[in-house]
C-alpha cells in the first residue's frame, strides 16, 4: 500500500480516536491554541492598527516594527522562548502571537485607512465624534480588509501551531514529531494531512464570514 493510503487508514483507525492522545482531542487542542494565539495578538494588534489607520500617525514606525517581527523565524523564536520559559504551552503560544501580529496589524490599519476619505471628512464635518467616526464609518467600511488580516493570521497560525508539539504535548504536531522520531511515516503524514485539512476548513469559514461582512452599498462588487 502507498504511504498516502497508509496515512488515511491511520486516520480512520478507530484506535487512534478518543482518549487524551486521540485525534479528536488533538484537533480540539490545536484549535484552542490557534484561537488563543490569534485572539491574544488581536487584542493588541487590532486596536493599534485602527488607531494608526484613523490618525495616520506612527505608521512608519509600527509598519517597520511589524515587518521586523515578520522576519523572525518562528522556530528560532520558539527555541529561544522555550529556553527562557521551559517546557509547556507558554513559549509556543507567545511565538504564535508574534506570528499573528503583523498580519492583524496590517489588515486593521489598511482597512481603516481605505475608508472613503470624502465620506469620513464629511461625517466629521456634520458632527460625528472621533469614536463615532471609527465605529460607525471606518470599521464598517474597512471590515472586509480587517477580516482579511484575521484570515491570513489564522491560516499562518493554524499551520504553524504544529510547532507547539516541539516543546509541549499539544496539538496535531505531536503526530509529526513522534512519527518522525519512531519512523512511523504513516502517522507523520496523517498529522500533516490533518493540519492541512483543518487549515482548509478554517479558511473556508473565514472567507464566508469575510464575504458576509462586506458593507452593503448597492454596488455590484467588481
Amino acid at each position: 500500500m502507498s504511504l498516502f493510503g497508509d496515512a488515511l487508514s491511520w486516520i480512520t483507525d478507530g484506535a487512534h480516536w478518543g482518549g487524551p492522545t486521540g485525534i479528536d482531542h488533538r484537533i480540539v487542542q490545536h484549535l484552542l491554541v490557534t484561537f488563543a494565539a490569534v485572539a491574544l495578538a488581536a487584542l493588541l494588534a487590532l486596536p493599534l492598527g485602527v488607531l494608526i489607520g484613523h490618525t495616520g500617525r506612527g505608521r512608519l514606525v509600527v509598519v517597520a516594527l511589524a515587518g521586523a517581527v515578520r522576519a523572525v523565524p518562528t522556530l528560532g523564536l520558539l527555541t529561544l522562548l522555550g529556553l527562557a520559559l521551559g517546557i509547556g504551552i507558554e513559549a509556543p503560544l507567545l511565538a504564535l502571537v508574534a506570528l499573528a501580529f503583523p498580519s492583524l496589524l496590517a489588515g486593521a490599519y489598511a482597512g481603516v485607512e481605505a475608508a472613503d476619505r470624502g465620506a469620513v471628512d464629511a461625517a466629521r464635518a456634520v458632527g460625528m465624534s472621533e469614536w463615532q467616526l471609527v465605529t460607525r464609518v471606518e470599521i464598517p467600511l474597512g471590515a472586509d480588509v480587517i477580516l482579511g488580516g484575521i484570515r491570513a493570521a489564522t491560516l499562518q497560525v493554524v499551520a504553524t501551531a504544529t510547532l507547539a508539539a516541539y516543546i509541549s504535548d499539544t496539538g496535531l504536531g505531536r503526530y509529526l514529531f513522534s512519527g518522525l522520531k519512531s519512523r512511523q511515516y504513516d502517522e507523520m503524514l496523517a498529522g500533516a494531512l490533518l493540519v492541512a485539512g483543518l487549515a482548509l476548513v478554517l479558511d473556508l469559514a473565514l472567507a464566508t464570514l469575510q464575504r458576509a461582512s462586506r458593507p452593503t452599498t448597492g454596488k455590484v462588487p467588481s
Binding site: G118, A122, R124, A125, V126, M128, L141, T217, G218
Partner: protein
Amino acid sequence: MGIEFRDVGKTYPDGTVAVTGFSCTVPSHRTLALVGTSGSGKTTLMRMVNRMVEPTTGTVLIDERDVQGLDKVELRRSIGYVPQAGGLLPHRRVVDNVATVPVLTGTPKRAAREAALALLELVGLDPALGRRYPTQLSGGQQQRVAVARALAAEPNILLMDEPFGAVDPIVRRGLQDQLLQLQAELGKTIVLVTHDVDEAFRLGDEVVILRTGGIVAQTGTPKEIMAAPADAFVRDFIGSDRAERSLRTVEVDGLSLVVDGDGRPVGVLE
C-alpha cells in the same frame, strides 16, 4: 448677529500661508459667496466656521460668540454642511444618510427617518429613493441628498463647499435654482465656496473675491462688483472683457434684442 470673521489668518506648520488678515461679516439670513481660484484659501475660511480648520490668528464668531469656546462636535451638529461631491456614507441607505445628525443627537430612528423622507421631497427628490444606497443615485441626486442631510438638524447656518462643482452644467443650473428657492423659504445664513464666478453672482447676496493666499481682492454685492471691478485682477477674474459680459441692444422688427460682444443674441429687452 450672523457670522463674523475677525482678522483671521491660517499658516500651516509647513509654512504655507492659506489666509492672512481676513475680516468679513455675514448678516443672518444672507448668503456669502467666497470665490477664488484654487489656493485662494476659500475652503479654509469656510471650514473655520465649524472648526474643521482652526485659525492661527484672529477669531470667528457666530452670533457674537467665539467658536473657539464652543464644543467642536456640538458646533458641527448645529451647522449644516454640504461637501464637495456628496460625501455621503456609502454603507448607509439614503434615508439614513439624511437622518445622520438627528440620530446622533438622540432623535428616535423612526421619527428621524420620517423627517428625512419629507426632506428628500423638499429638495426635489422622490422619497422612494430613500431606500437606495448613495452609489445608486446620479451625481446631481447625491448632491440633493447632501443638501437634505445638511438641513436635517434645522441649522441656522449652512456651509457649502463647491456643492455643485462635480455635476454637469444643466444639472448645476437646476440645483442652483433649487437652492435659491429653498433659501427664499428657509432664510438660512449661508457661506458658499465656489470657483465659478457666475455661481457666486447667482447665489451670493455678498461676494468676496479672493487672491492666492486668502487676500481679499474685492468685497461687494454682485452688482457693485460688476459695475466697478476694483482692479485688473477682478476685471480679469469676473471676465469683464469677455464678449458675454458686454451686452448691447439692436432693433429687429420693432423689438429690442440684447446681443453680446460678438453680436450673438441672448434675449429680448422688455
